[in-house]
Symmetry: C2
Subunit: 176 residues, 2 copies
């Protein structure tokens, strides 16, 4: 039993190598819109999505993230678009992480359906807690009461998607 | 710019009224499989998915959840299938909540694509922290080190899905 949605869900992969091809604005907007349609607890729609195409800001994000990771490689894999998702602190919204995760999930799937590739990148909470990160968050126009939850690197894949990795046994069970 | 995946994402709603029609096993399995294809941090595939169709256990789940909520209504809206998602404690996996949320998100979308309706229900963490909840978790075969993250009520919708609610302004921005 399948359909195009199921097929997209089961064939999506996290991709870490991107081609030089730019992401068209209409595709980017479609991905971002898909993110906004994620359900949120009590329909609060609290997450804030920021897509960064500015190469200078991308460099700064890369440097901040690498600093947290303790490397000098690019944690965003050279992607020309980085999509940041910010959420309220858990004290301000107990569903903040869940809500923001569903936003990221919708965008990953929408991207895949449009022939784009993405990868969820972490460490944004720590990045935007540094003095430089706090200034950047302000520059991006995001409420300082919000925290970074995660990001997507977004681009065209360099190669066709590999097949999905095997799923663990007993991932699910049905209790009758 | 659209396709069947984008359409599914943008038309899905959280549904709280279900018809008496049972969910076919092949559809349920397809939904559960879709959940297993959610990406997880470092491909740990830690979440555990338990679909409950046993009416006695559904009654217990409902009573436990209502107890946390402080009501005597059914928090699962009379659905004949409840899908529970358990994850490790955050101390054991820092991406536990994000990973489990993506599992729930994939299942919600897969369900919608198959003509099923669902709603994310909370309070499972508290439910499975009670003495009765801990025993039930053991009975369901779930590692006692795991916590309840969330659940889906699943069934056929009683009515056609209403249109999505309006999205907030400035949900996303593009920084060039």
């Amino acid at each position: 039993m399948t359909n195009q949605v199921i097929e997209a869900i089961c064939s999506r992969r996290s991709i870490r190598k991107y081609s030089d091809r730019s992401v068209e604005t209409d595709k980017l907007v479609t991905v971002l819109e898909a993110g906004t349609y994620a359900p949120t607890g009590h329909n609060r729609q609290d997450p804030i999505i920021v897509a960064v195409r500015n190469s200078g800001i991308i460099k700064t994000l890369s440097r901040l993230n690498a600093g947290i990771m303790g490397t000098d490689s690019d944690p965003y894999y050279g992607a020309k678009v980085i999509i940041l998702v910010f959420v309220p602190k858990v004290e301000d919204n107990p569903n903040a992480v869940q809500d923001g995760s569903l936003v990221l999930g919708n965008m990953m799937l929408a991207a895949h359906s449009l022939g784009l590739a993405s990868c969820w990148i972490n460490r944004e909470k720590q990045m935007f807690s540094t003095p430089e990160g706090k200034l950047l968050q302000e520059r991006l126009g995001v409420d300082p009461a919000y925290e970074g939850l995660g990001a997507l690197s977004l681009g065209y894949p360099l190669k066709p998607n590999p097949k999905p990795l095997e799923r663990k046994k007993d991932y699910y069970r049905i209790i009758d």
